[in-house]
């Protein structure tokens, strides 16, 4: 039972780098949330609430970091069952926002099960592939697909196109890692997942207005009510007008106005880009690349299949959210509700992302045990 032994050497420089990156990105988020909401007169402002989420996220991080990921993975199926029930509850009695039902109200807060569903799906698929022999299409593609399906359908029914696409992305990433034998097929699969939004946007641009509205009415009815691209345009104006060096903190005339809805949540990147300009944008992109790079390092050095799959799945999920969120605020993709990990305001998303990163570090921590 060599893998039950844990690393008792404490934090090394790698861990500190990893956690430092998380802390810096979280700070960027709190600062942007503060900037866009500081003029609102509320007793409990958003940036303070976000700090509370970060505190809870830190606890989630530590819990996921300190327990053995093998034990966590063993809980994958029951947890998935619970999440499916919660997704069903959301449909029945959830709190509605802009026509979509995504939240379960808990006291003054709202809990969004579809966020947690993503992490649970990573656990479920990693657990599945680490145990099942990878022989035949049935075991490699179809069965895991059937596992994904109920969650995906429940999320799309809300409708939450963003979370649904993330769900698909996790599945695709897992297929790429273990599901398909041919490397060429894997590459095609990955590229199609990653480039899908870009292609979508090109197809999108070729459609007539009424066609787009019909499509959007189908997948996400009330996202941009009466706006006819107004929301997307204002987001582009916010980003573009930041130019090279930005308008400075609190200087974003576009985002300080209430015209840009969701300035502290899904569109926080536009706020940041307006205030910090292209320079700031490059810094944030670099921070995300660094974090993902370090995470991939963990995946590459994982000691067993389960660890590697967990790490790869989490990284894929993180990548997908970052890329799609920035892409949609920059007007490259249609607007789907995906928050920017660690930056956007939101309890469920922040806690889920930090829990995922805790699990990642857990995988890294255990690979060292082999040297004992």
């Amino acid at each position: 039972m060599i893998d039950r032994v844990i690393d008792s050497r404490g934090l090394d420089s790698f861990d500190l780098r990893f956690m430092g990156l998380i802390a810096v990105i979280l700070s960027v988020g709190v600062l942007s949330i503060y900037s866009v909401t500081h003029s609102q007169d509320t007793a409990f402002p958003f940036y303070l609430k976000q700090l509370v989420w970060i505190l809870l996220g830190t606890i989630a991080f530590l819990v996921m970091y300190l327990s053995d990921y093998h034990k966590i993975a063993r809980l994958a199926y029951p947890t998935y069952a619970v999440i499916l029930i919660m997704l069903a509850i959301v449909l029945i009695m959830g709190k509605s926002s802009r026509g979509a039902q995504r939240w379960i109200p808990i006291g003054p807060f709202a809990f969004q099960p579809s966020e947690f569903a993503k992490l649970v799906l990573v656990l479920v698929l990693a657990n599945y592939y680490s145990r099942v022999t990878r022989v035949g299409w049935m075991h490699r593609v179809v069965l895991p697909g059937l596992i994904v399906l109920p969650g995906l359908l429940l999320i799309l029914k809300q409708p939450d196109l963003g979370s649904g696409l993330s769900f698909l992305a996790v599945y695709a990433a897992m297929l790429l890692m273990v599901g398909v034998r041919s490397k060429a097929l894997g590459i095609i699969l990955l590229l199609s997942v990653m480039l899908f939004p870009f292609v979508w946007e090109m197809v999108w641009a070729s459609l007539h207005d009424y066609q787009r509205q019909r499509v959007m009415a189908f997948v996400d009815p009330d996202y941009d009510p009466g706006g006819k691209g107004y929301h997307a345009l204002q987001s582009r104006i916010a980003i573009g007008s930041g130019e090279l060096s930005g308008k400075g903190l609190y200087g974003g005339t576009q985002s300080q106005l209430k015209f840009l809805p969701e300035g502290h949540t899904d569109f926080v990147f536009a706020v940041y880009a307006e205030e910090w300009g292209f320079v700031g944008v490059l810094v944030l992109l670099a921070l995300f690349i660094a974090l993902i790079w370090v995470s991939l390092e963990i995946a590459a050095r994982a000691k067993d299949t389960l660890g590697a799959l967990l790490a790869a799945g989490i990284v894929a999920m993180l990548c997908f959210c970052v890329v799609v969120n920035i892409g949609m605020t920059a007007g490259m993709f249609p607007i789907v509700g995906i928050p920017l990990p660690l930056v956007s305001y939101g309890g469920s998303a922040t806690i889920m992302t930090m829990a995922s990163l805790g699990l990642l570090l857990n995988v890294k921590r255990r690979r060292l045990t082999l040297f004992y």
Partner: protein, 629 residues
């Protein structure tokens, strides 16, 4: 990578594939960076122009308040379009110059404009309301000067309007801008500076229902801050409509009966508690109060000695005088202090210690029983039974009839009057109760005070055989969007512990008061009426004949009544300040109100209730055909 040997081939394969993920990531991030470079660097100046010259303002869209109708669908309060002037400081180049221009164009105090511009939440981008209810001429004037007035915006809003003017003013109330104190409270949390809320009457009590929900629109403005394009992102929702229990026609008659005098008339349906009319005089025009008043105008209204804002029906507290004998009679019989046939000798006065309490009739009424004592309002009879009962028994029954407590009518700041007792006096005055004070209280003088609404409720309870129904002003609330109507059913407040025989005796005596007692001037050829007069002394100083006393020291005239005697459908309380005797000054008014009611609803004479809304509400239909007098 010393540990590689432990890995199976799957793991190795898997980890090699991670390279694809890295390449893919770099590729996609490069695409993102390219896109952002395009937006921020290549097209940056274009978007900066857009953001500076083609900016967006978010403007609150005020909701239309719910309409208010009477029981027959007659419109009492609606909304008319009006112009409001907003200024967005961000677009103002020369603030002093703008203030000077606006002040001369609109004839406004420059300090007031400055004050409006510097208060309010939000930054310089939040438009501030400087003036509402602009006349068409003013709005046109501003529009024609718009090039000289950057940052000025004229917005069409709905403004509260009371088609009846002064009619039912105290009851309807008026609206006004939410105050800074109100904004602190949870009830007003969804409002903002400049929101209109009910400040008085049912407008205030039902504000949450009537208020509606504000919406928002994004307005694209040009370099001068003038609207170019608007996108409504959130439509305002109109408030709910109120259907009151009052009859606008009866209300008007009641108010006209009081005329220029001060006083109140309340008419209730004793079986349902419906307030059919609630007049208070002097009144005010809610249209004027709903405007922004200048300090001077406001001081004039508030400091007016006749206190026109006071709703005398619910807030005026007066000694009930002899109308209190209705309560006394029930208390005396139920506490077994007397029987209906107990005789009391009245010589025109009652000696208590070294003080003589006089009867209103010099020389007295001779030997009287309960029935006669009520008919002729014999003071000595009630002095005697009051003294035998003691103040605490009196208080117990007065409270059962609802005195000394809120009636629960849906109006803000209802007063409760005083029901004195030994405990009350100890608490309020820190003094013991003196037996002589019981004698004054027995005829509704001394410490006893009541509101006209309470007295209407007392006589209504008697008329309704002892069942007290809570007076109510609103029959139903209709949601404008869904058309759903929420009915407010009548609520029974309680039943006074009085035997049916006692009630029957009192009702019979009260009917005789009108046919052969102190209120013959209330006798009607249309309908049988029962009632009780009252004359409330305002001062102990009573020398010489009535007409020589200055008006403000004269007595208040009371009359409480119900009709038809056999199956009462209306209970009325009339209070005329400083008008002298109840029998002469108040009783005729009650008769007129009752007659107007039975003419409008003749079915009540046959014992059929006057149905509420007989037809569907016709907005703005003030012209309901009526058999009028």
């Amino acid at each position: 990578m010393a540990a590689i040997g432990f890995h199976d081939s799957d793991l190795l394969d898997l980890q090699r594939r991670l390279v694809i993920l890295r390449v893919g990531l770099l590729l996609v991030v490069a695409l993102l960076a390219l896109r952002l470079w395009h937006l921020q660097i290549r097209e940056g100046p274009y978007y900066r122009d857009l953001s500076e010259n083609n900016r967006t303002r978010s403007v609150v869209l005020e909701p239309a308040r719910g309409l208010i109708f009477d029981r027959n669908g007659v419109l009492l309060a609606n909304n008319v379009p009006s112009f409001a002037l907003y200024v967005t400081l961000e677009d103002v180049k020369d603030r002093q110059g703008l203030v000077a221009q606006l002040s001369s164009l609109l004839n406004l105090d420059p300090d007031l404009i400055q004050k409006k511009l510097s208060t309010g939440k939000g930054g310089k981008l939040q438009p501030r309301k400087v003036k509402d209810r602009l006349t068409l001429r003013e709005a046109t004037l501003i529009e024609s000067h718009r090039l000289d007035l950057p940052g000025v915006m004229i917005q069409v809003e709905s403004q509260r309007n009371y088609p009846g003017g002064v009619v039912a003013a105290h009851l309807l109330g008026y609206v006004g801008e939410v105050s800074a104190d109100q904004l602190e409270k949870a009830d007003f949390a969804d409002l903002h500076q400049g929101s209109i809320v009910g400040q008085y009457g049912v407008e205030k009590w039902f504000d949450r229902q009537v208020r509606g929900r504000a919406g928002q629109k994004s307005v694209e403005v040009d370099a001068l801050g003038h609207e170019k394009r608007a996108v409504v992102s959130d439509k305002p929702e109109a408030g709910d409509d109120l259907y009151l229990t009052i009859d606008a026609h009866l209300q008007k008659i009641a108010e006209d009966l009081l005329g220029e005098e001060s006083g109140a008339i309340v008419a209730l349906d004793p079986t349902t508690g419906d307030v059919l009319a609630m007049a208070s005089r002097p009144g005010f025009d809610p249209n004027m109060l709903s405007k922004e008043l200048s300090n001077k105008q406001w001081v004039e209204i508030v400091q007016n000695e006749r206190r026109p804002l006071n709703n005398r029906a619910t807030q005026g507290q007066y000694p009930p005088g002899s109308t209190f004998k209705v309560v006394m009679a029930a208390a005396a019989l139920e506490s077994n202090t007397v029987t209906p046939s107990t005789m009391v000798r009245c010589n025109g006065g009652y000696q208590f210690g070294n003080r003589l309490f006089r009867d209103w009739k010099p020389g007295g009424h001779g030997s009287v029983d309960m029935n006669e004592a009520l008919i002729h309002s014999c003071d000595v009879y009630f002095y005697t039974v009051g003294q035998r009962m003691g103040i605490d028994t009196i208080a117990e029954y007065a409270k059962q009839f609802g005195l000394g407590q809120e009636t629960g009518v849906e109006l803000p700041s209802e007063r409760v009057g005083i029901v004195p007792s030994t405990a009350w006096k100890q608490k309020a005055r820190n003094q013991p109760w003196y037996p002589g004070e019981t004698i004054s209280a027995a005829i509704g003088q001394g410490y006893v005070t009541v509101t006209p609404l309470q007295m209407a409720s007392v006589i209504g309870t008697v008329a309704n055989d002892g069942v007290a129904v809570r007076p109510r002003l609103v029959q139903s609330v209709m949601n404008r969007a869904t058309g759903e109507r929420a009915e407010f059913p009548p609520t029974i407040r309680g039943k006074v512990a009085v035997k049916p025989a006692t009630i029957a005796l009192i009702k019979e005596a009260l009917a005789d008061v009108v046919t052969k007692g102190t209120a013959t001037r209330a006798k009607s050829s249309l309908v049988t009426i029962g009632g009780k007069t009252g004359t409330a002394q305002t001062t102990a100083l009573r020398t010489g004949p009535e007409k020589d006393i200055p008006k403000k020291f004269r007595d208040h005239a009371w009359f409480v009544a119900f009709a038809p005697v056999e199956a009462p459908r209306i209970a009325v309380a009339v209070l005329a300040e400083h008008m002298g005797h109840g029998g002469s000054a108040a009783a005729p008014l009650a008769k007129d109100v009752i007659e107007a009611y039975v003419k409008a609803y003749p079915q009540v004479l046959r014992g059929i209730p006057a149905s509420g809304r007989t037809k569907s509400p016709a907005p703005a239909a003030d012209t309901r055909p009526r058999r009028d007098d």
